[in-house]
Symmetry: C2
Subunit: 376 residues, 2 copies
């Protein structure tokens, strides 16, 4: 995997780049649709490719490990073959899901023991196991196994947890270095910076992570309920430490506004369930602002979902038709809304990239953030 | 609307034809996917057109009347404009849905008073109102308002009901003849033969319906729980009476076997929710037989859903992947299974048509029915 920075915004830390993987190029800044269990919910792979023009999708190790399971994924020759997505895939490490299990998991130095949310069966994730699982899934980008701290988080807990995440990282790197890809293409490890909302911890963690000299780096433990100012402050701090010649991935972020602000801080990669989850509930992100399509005001609005956005479903279908589908719980409503929202997210990062290259990013960001954040 | 019979099977009553409408040609025998409330469930219009190659879809007057309602459909310029389906649409008359409401409807000579299944609000469907509603929906083919009798049905009830359906038909014809299409294209009325499973009533009804000389004719009140032998006997009898120069539509039928048997009896058009409803439950119709994809036996079967069928989703995705999606309630599972099953149904009638034209229909039917009806 290589990362080439092709342009740097003069007025912010934003940059445009290209990540090259065995499954193709990724033009950064990029948003990665979340394909939890091998499917971006309600969206077909063909639509991801042609309509949304996604360049990389995310898979969840926790979910894929439980179902369909590594045995079947190995037999299929990896997730790309299993789900028919030929472009790059990044898998998270399961750290976030395990953290979300709360009482149903026990963290020790060695590993995490957890109960499946599906059937209560017991499983163990160690750094080594999680590397092996991601090898078997066949991810192009493998995330280190970390502990994601909640917000708020006591200083001492955050510090101890960061230490654990760092020790686990060493074990992840050792495991990756002592094993080979299963399907003949390169798999790259991204370590994860932790440290909650504490500047000194974030600084320490970023320095530790930077020193590992892996192909890319990630920031975890944000977008877990902290104020946006904290998220931006931590992101800015960490970006100033992480090497500029490696891609930076901010995990689980966020709203369109969050994404543009964090691009300005030097982030290259994003993922979030928001565009698809909100779509299923009828909340649409458009170039004019945010729409709750369930509202009565859209009932007989026969104008396109988003005429300026372009893209088949957004220009072809009316707000009134989409509202009708969502209100009546027609599956097609979830399909159209999900395609639309993801098309918007990919449009947003592509547009940001264009402005960075043009050198007009900051001005553009200020004006577009106001427009797209307003509720219509 | 015109119907041209282009070929007649020498060994059965099967025929191949072309129905020409203002929204394009329909090659018969044809299967019409059911788009209840303006959407064929879990299938996008683009997939209907390109993957499934549907030539006409069905809409339900009862559902469309309640939601989105005739006011919005009129404002949109009809259902074609509202849902973006540019090919022909047939709407049922609401007779079947009203019959399904049981205690929540009251039938009089004048009309049917019923309560909405959504909010309990009271509504009236008269033959005149139902013609007006279908005019407003903008259907290419409008179904007469009838009473659909249940099975079993007392002789006297069936006889009286048939009389009512005939009197309502007269009112439907009068209404259609005294009104004009709203959107500048032709709308054609199909009367419906009733008479339950009584030969003399079916004979009387078919003669009455044939005498109305409408552009096409339909058979209702079958596939409501009666033995298949009764369905075939009634269909055969009615087809022998209905004019050969008009298309014949058997409402609500059925399994692949039912469809092939009724094509042999002279039926040209079919509709049924089975391919889409069963798809959502994981039951697949394939060229090799019927598959319950939820069964353990498909768990690691990485072969295509249906290699012989052709079509993108059926050859691109494996049984194991589709099983994984369906088991995990991923919406994409419903999408892929629905596209697959409808592709199969459209393949089936297209194949039947080809064999009719070749003169090999009956022999082909005997062999294919065994194959596609077996459970794998």
């Amino acid at each position: 995997m290589t990362f080439q920075q092709i342009s740097k915004d003069p007025k912010s830390a934003a940059r445009a780049g290209i990540i090259s993987t065995s499954h193709g190029e990724i033009h950064t800044p990029i948003f990665m649709p979340v394909g939890t269990a091998g499917s971006v919910k309600a969206v077909h792979q063909r639509e991801l490719e042609n309509d949304i023009q996604a360049e990389i999708i995310l898979g969840n190790t926790y979910h894929l490990y439980l179902r369909p399971g590594v045995e079947l994924l190995a037999k299929a020759g990896g997730l790309h073959k299993f789900n028919g997505w030929a472009r790059p895939i990044l898998t998270d490490s399961g750290g976030y899901q395990v953290y979300s299990l709360g009482a149903n998991r026990k963290i020790t130095e060695e590993s995490v023991l957890f109960k499946s949310h599906i059937d209560g069966s017991k499983h163990t994730f160690s750094p080594e196991a999680v590397m092996d699982i991601q090898r078997t899934i066949g991810a192009d980008i493998i995330m280190a196994f970390d502990e994601c701290t909640p917000f708020p988080c006591e200083y001492q807990y955050a510090k101890d947890s960061m230490g654990l995440t760092h020790r686990w990282l060493k074990r992840c790197i050792e495991r990756i270095n002592s094993t080979v890809p299963l399907y003949g293409y390169e798999q790259s490890l991204f370590p994860i910076v932790q440290g909650s909302t504490y500047k000194d911890l974030r600084e320490q963690s970023a320095e530790f992570i930077a020193a590992q000299n892996q192909p890319g780096n990630a920031i975890g433990g944000l977008s877990v309920g902290e104020p946006h100012e904290d998220m931006y402050a931590m992101t800015s701090l960490v970006c100033s430490i992480l090497p500029a010649d490696k891609p930076r991935y901010l995990m689980g972020v966020g709203t369109p506004e969050n994404i543009l602000e964090c691009i300005a801080l030097g982030i290259d990669m994003f993922d979030c369930v928001m565009p698809t989850r909100n779509a299923r509930n009828g909340m649409l992100f458009t170039t004019e602002g945010i729409i709750n399509i369930r509202n009565e005001k859209w009932k007989d609005d026969l104008s396109p979902i988003d005429a300026s956005l372009g893209g088949y479903v957004s220009t072809f279908h009316s707000k009134a038709y989409l509202r009708h589908l969502i209100i009546n719980k027609e599956i097609l409503g979830a399909q159209i809304a999900s395609i639309h929202n993801l098309t918007f997210y990919l449009w947003l990062v592509k547009e940001a990239r264009k402005r960075i290259i043009e050198g007009t990013f900051v001005l553009w960001k200020e004006s577009i953030v106001k427009k797209i954040s307003q509720r219509l």
